[in-house]
Subunit: 342 residues, 4 copies
């Protein structure tokens, strides 16, 4: 019997991607789809690519509409998930694609988000040491941010093995869907096409403390993170270029072996053969993450580049991967391994 | 037991898309993958998005490699399919993604392709009247061209019902993958991005006689076709804007009803609700075709716009849809209905 | 002594392009720059590419601010130009980049724009027969629409010489800047990139009667126009594919000669050598229009394709070209002939 | 009397951009234009945007063709400039857009380029301390690489003032024209659009020693450079994100003041007002460089982001800026300050 899922925030990009993946998931059935301003509209108007759901009418995002499902995905603006989750009951699996329950440090939350800290839920990045076990028994999942997914996958083997110093420098390029469907002038096609631009420079991006939290947990010492996100002229994809000073004795070979070992058995994370570098096009629409690692001996730094789809592995695919674990399903169920290229 | 398929020309865009779809097909197993210049290389180097096939080595495109499969997809330059097909045996289902067996008129073939006519195979566009039946019993399938797919789906209801005069004017925009992976200066990213340009203007494009053949068969009189293809700055997708003078007495309502009736029950072709127009983004990676129709009373013309993915419904998806029929499988098996958006 | 120009609507794309070109114009000096919602902001925030004007503060769009200039460019939403122009005085050269004074037929105006007809000003497309003379003596200029510019340049030689029947079929692709800076969901970069879509299909686009007006004046009989605009994934550029049935006796040679003759001496419109087709990239930022013509004998149609930059020749460049004539300056003064490629 | 310039390598992107700028330069006259494989073709076929030069025929790149000009621009593959320059005579101003004469360290040259070191010419980045003076008296100019231009402009004030430690980490995104017109599969539009990918990771890019040379000269100690270039889906533009650990006592205010002071009077380099960040779209086609600086106190790093057009300020515009100095012309002559946006 199918597991019934509701999706709150189904008119946005994250919610739309959850629906796209649920349509291809053999164990899931799509129940309520809800929205705020777009309630009452048909999905076909807002997500024309979800052809089989074109006639579904968006309900209001309310506990009444979301109740009675086995799984509820929340793709809401931050600050709204706690109230909904509380009323859904402990037996419902709630998967929060927003930020509300990602950070453990309440001060960091308040500094970066400006609202009271709602709490912390098991973190939906199964590849991190210990995460998979926690996800198997939870009814609450905090889906990681898209950048923290790309960066944590790139750097966790290095920090877990002590290859590098606790100062990471990260520059990441994201497709515009990472900024959502909000109507802002700088997100217009005319502005975006043909242009690269940074934002949140100097430590201000909200994903910075989340990245630091993930890396620090592995390093067993605080890792400082210099994180610069940039907006790239493409709809989807994150390319994260991450580096840190290598510790004495680390060679290109030991670095590569460390990564190969850390990623062995991971279904979705692939270390590319030497000489090949990840391109975001290879993972568009896919739950895969592609990695490559290099040691720059002259600069004394380890460079790791990762490519993911911000909406798939970086949001909705990661959410379903974690959901699979929480439902006791094989982790790969219903998730695409292939990208859509060209 | 799985049906085993080989793909010849697996390093190109059409072959890569056949493989992407076969990976998601529940009844198919991927056997040999072959190439010409790229034989000996791993697929991971040439099709990095096909993560599960990364370690597969491309064999040479030869009858020895292709023999022993239930289905053989040919994605070869035109003129090469006949020789391969002949040696494969009549019991093998051969699906030719190239042009060799599409045209019935040997003179038109020679005029547009400049080589001797190889013959005619059942035409793999199941939506055309009579096509589905022919495909159910064949071991040879000529996959339609990408433009003829988009245009024939747009105009077949109008010509089958006699709504319009036998002079069609078509302007279509295609993503660059339609031109293949060939290394030509005008296909460089620097040239393509930010630019629209026409080609084959004035009746010279090889898909012109194929379009005329499809429409003339329905009109029971020769349909002249003015076809202008244009190259658009996107990797995938075709938007075909098709029009013809309406015949007396045709109203917007009768036109719409004719289309609704002609497309009823078609799994992959959707007439959009009034007021919505197709965008290629909604069908990227999908086997769906989206259509809309309008009557321009001042100009006296019926305008039909269709959107498809040139590599999916326009090539590899259409090929698999036709293959499903020839194998006795449900026509929709393994084919995506949802596009990848944004 | 420099001619002083004010620009109303300087925060939008049309106004920004007027400023970009005025900065390169040797006879012009930039006076007031005004806006509505953005009044009080610095240009550097809204038009960061206009580096030399970064510190200019936008004033309100009012007669007080605009008075006292030799030339006033209006880049306002339609319906607002008449009131401003009236109060500026007859000796001021008013160049309206909007639609208000383009149409001669009040009924057509009201049908397509839904407001009372404001009147008709000399039409700023110098290449049309008779237009140059009218512009030399006027203090009021109606700048043509971007699509009508591209289409009229493509078809005026054919209609002036009676080469074709009075039924034109036009499909044009435009960059997104043609839709302005308005915050609409379908103009977001995430929606636009990788997608082609039509709009205003079936005769509804407001540029349709303007095209018909221009062609009918040349044909000395009403020309019906089937016009389908499409939105292309690029910031700038229009590619217009125009066709009509050829009249008996017209050959490829006579067509070509007619065009060569009609365009001889035109500074900005170039008929390309045979075998080359226009690409919008070649005219980005340029006031040039590139044309090519072909006779499709099988279809009995003349096909003309034109490429312009919708913001330059299609709006601001055309405006300045007409202004030059009205000011008695050489027509080419300050206008770029080269595009920005790649 | 006009200064006559020849351009060798006029069919490529760098050569085309030199020609575009020379067309707008009031003191220059374009003489011979030459090419290698494309000799004998008209420029209109290869550089269709250079409308006024469409009928110019490309000559062979030979000393015979290039002799007799006041200035010769060389836009040749590396390794070919020395032989040409030698034969041109000392009184001719030779401006080498290639790499041959940029590096002072012969070992670094041989390590990164694999050919014998040709020598060192005055370096054409006038903004670097001392460079302007050297350029005023030279007949030989080594035009900087595009990445070194973007990075050196971003970091020279920090290193000249000792704000940061001698370990720079740089991640830069470049438009595809940076890779030239060479026919490589990964540069096809179908591959590039919608994709970000790194290359030359780990210190292998040839611009690395050039960046290190520039920064080390200012720091008066060797600066190690970790440089990762990435290919972005746009034709033009470089966004360079540069960072280094700040030295004790440096505050956001002192950093900002240092930059403001270092850039005061620079015609082409602009420090943006606080809160605004550079986008490459603002400098497309322009010789301007836009900079912004931030101090990340938590990470202890100074972040500087610069945006340039790789073909203009990064190649041809920089070349002409340096040429102006060598010719005794005002440095800004003929160079665009405004970008082409949107």
């Amino acid at each position: 019997m199918a597991v019934r899922a509701a999706v709150a925030g189904a008119s946005g990009y994250a919610g739309g991607e959850v629906l796209r993946l649920l349509l291809g998931h053999p164990e899931m059935e799509i129940g309520a789809v809800t929205a705020h301003a777009n309630a009452g509209h048909r999905l076909g108007e807002l997500q024309p690519h979800l052809v089989p759901l074109a006639d579904r009418v968006l309900g209001p995002t309310s506990v009444e509409t979301l109740a009675g499902h086995d799984v509820v995905f929340l793709a809401l603006p931050h600050g709204q998930s706690a109230a909904v989750a509380e009323q859904l009951g402990d037996e419902v699996l709630v998967v929060d694609c927003g930020a509300d329950f990602r950070l453990r440090d309440a001060d960091a939350w308040e500094q970066f988000y400006g609202t009271p800290h709602a709490g912390t839920w098991p973190y939906g990045l199964p590849e991190l040491p210990g995460a998979r076990e926690a996800l198997r028994t939870t009814r609450r999942i905090a889906v990681p941010g898209c950048y923290p997914t790309a960066v944590s996958l790139a750097l966790f083997p290095a920090y877990a093995a002590g290859l590098v110093e606790p100062e990471a420098v990260i520059v990441a390029a994201s497709g515009t869907s990472g900024a959502g469907k909000s109507l802002k002038p700088h997100l217009l096609g005319s502005e975006v096409m043909g242009s690269m631009s940074p934002y949140g420079v100097g430590g201000g991006h909200r994903h910075t403390p989340e990245i630091a939290q993930n890396l620090s947990a592995l390093a067993d010492e605080p890792v400082t993170v210099s994180f610069t996100p940039t907006l790239a002229p493409m709809p989807r994809g994150i390319l994260a270029t991450c580096s840190a000073r290598v510790r004495p004795g680390v060679t290109a070979e030991t670095a590569r072996e460390t990564y190969a070992k850390a990623l062995a058995g991971e279904p979705f994370v692939r270390l590319l053969p030497e000489g090949r570098w990840p391109a975001t096009a290879a993972v568009v629409g896919s739950n895969a993450a592609l990695l490559q690692v290099a040691l720059d001996e002259a600069a004394g730094r380890l460079i790791v580049v990762s490519a993911i789809d911000n909406l798939t592995k970086g949001t909705a695919g990661g959410a379903i991967q974690a959901m699979n674990l929480a439902l006791g399903l094989p982790e790969e169920t219903g998730l695409p391994f292939t990208g859509l290229a060209p």
